[in-house]
C-alpha cells in the first residue's frame, strides 16, 4: 500500500491502542483524515488483512441507534503498520508530521 500522510495518521491512531475497537468517524476525527479518504483506506486495509471488522451488537440493552461497524487491528496489521511507521520516520516527506510519539513496533 502506498505510504501517504493519511495512512500514516491512521496507522498512528490504530497503534496507539492496538487492542481498541475503532469506528470510522471517530478514527477519522482522531487521525485528522477526511471521510472521503478514510473509508477507501479502511477498505484497502481490510483487504490486506491488516484490520478485521465486526458489527456492533446491541446485547441486552437497545442502542437507540443503528449498529455501527467497528475495526480492530490484526496481528499482521500491527506488524505491517509498525513497519510502515518506522519507514515514515526516516522518510523526508513525513518529517513535518507529528510522528514523534509513534508507537513503533506495535507491542501489545
Amino acid at each position: 500500500m502506498r505510504m501517504t500522510h493519511a495512512l500514516i495518521s491512521i496507522a498512528t491512531v490504530l497503534l496507539t491502542d492496538p487492542d481498541a475497537r475503532h469506528f470510522g468517524y471517530d478514527l477519522g476525527r482522531r487521525a485528522g483524515v477526511r471521510s472521503g479518504v478514510l473509508y477507501p483506506l479502511l477498505a484497502r486495509m481490510l483487504a490486506e488483512g491488516w484490520l478485521k471488522d465486526e458489527w456492533e451488537s446491541a446485547g441486552d440493552e437497545p442502542l437507540g441507534r443503528p449498529n455501527r461497524r467497528y475495526y480492530e487491528v490484526t496481528e499482521a496489521g500491527i506488524e505491517q503498520l509498525g513497519a510502515l511507521l518506522q519507514r515514515a520516520q526516516t522518510d523526508a516527506r513525513f518529517r513535518q508530521s507529528p510522528l514523534a510519539t509513534l508507537p513503533l513496533g506495535g507491542a501489545r
Binding site: D26, W55, R68, R69
Partner: protein
C-alpha cells in the same frame, strides 16, 4: 440564458437545503452508488448518527465523492464487462470473456506459468483480444521472488497494473527470459506507463 441560470441556482439551492435539512435522505440516495451487498451502505448510514449536526452536510457531501469513485464507477465497469469478476485458479484471476477449459491461452498458462512474460502466453492473450487479470504467486525456476503479477490486457490497449515490487519482478522476468526485442520494448513501455499512473 437567465432561465438556465435561475434553474441552476435553484437546483444548487435545493441541494444546499437538502444537505442541510435532510442529510439522511441525501445519504440514502448517495449510498445507492454502492452495491446492495456492500457493507459500506449500512456502515455509513449508521455512522451518520455519530456525526455532529453541523458537520453532517459536509460529511454527506464527502460520501458522494466516495460513492461515485468507489461504488458507482466499478459497478459501471462491471456492467460493461459483466464477467470480469470471475475467479479462476491456477494463475488466472479473471478474464473476459470467461476462459473455457481447453482454451489455448489457459493451456499456455498452465503449461508454462513461469514464462508468463514470455512471448507464448503474451501472444496468446493478444491473439484472443481479451481482458485478462493474472495473479501469480509462485517461485519461478530462476528463483524469482514470490509475488503476484497482475496484468490487465484490454482489447488492443495494454495496461499493466503493478506494485513496485511486482515491477521489479517483471523486470527480472524480462531479463531472465529470451524474448523478442519488440516484446521487451512493449513491456517496458507498459511499465513506464504504470509508473506514470
Amino acid at each position: 440564458m437567465i432561465e438556465l441560470l435561475q434553474v441552476s441556482a435553484s437546483s444548487g439551492l435545493l441541494l444546499v437545503l437538502a444537505l442541510g435539512f435532510a442529510p439522511r435522505l441525501v445519504l440514502r440516495f448517495v449510498l445507492l452508488g454502492f452495491k446492495p451487498e456492500d457493507p459500506r451502505r449500512r456502515e455509513l448510514s449508521a455512522e451518520l448518527a455519530a456525526i455532529p449536526r453541523r458537520d453532517r452536510p459536509f460529511w454527506v457531501a464527502e460520501q458522494l465523492e466516495v460513492a461515485l469513485i468507489e461504488g458507482l464507477l466499478p459497478r459501471l465497469v462491471e456492467h460493461v464487462l459483466p464477467h470480469r469478476a470471475e475467479v479462476w485458479s491456477f494463475g488466472v484471476t479473471s478474464a473476459w470473456p470467461p476462459i473455457k477449459p481447453g482454451d489455448p491461452m489457459l493451456l499456455a498458462m498452465r503449461g508454462a506459468p513461469a514464462q508468463l512474460a514470455s512471448g507464448r502466453v503474451a501472444r496468446a492473450i493478444r491473439r484472443c483480444r481479451r481482458l485478462v487479470l493474472v495473479d501469480l504467486g509462485y517461485q519461478g525456476p530462476s528463483r524469482w521472488p514470490l509475488a503476484g503479477v497482475r496484468v490487465v490486457w484490454l482489447t488492443g490497449h495494454r495496461h499493466i497494473v503493478m506494485t513496485s515490487t511486482e515491477m521489479v519482478v517483471l523486470a527480472q522476468m524480462l531479463r531472465a527470459g529470451s524474448h523478442a526485442a519488440q516484446q521487451k520494448q512493449e513491456f517496458h513501455a507498459c511499465i513506464e506507463l504504470s509508473n506514470r499512473i
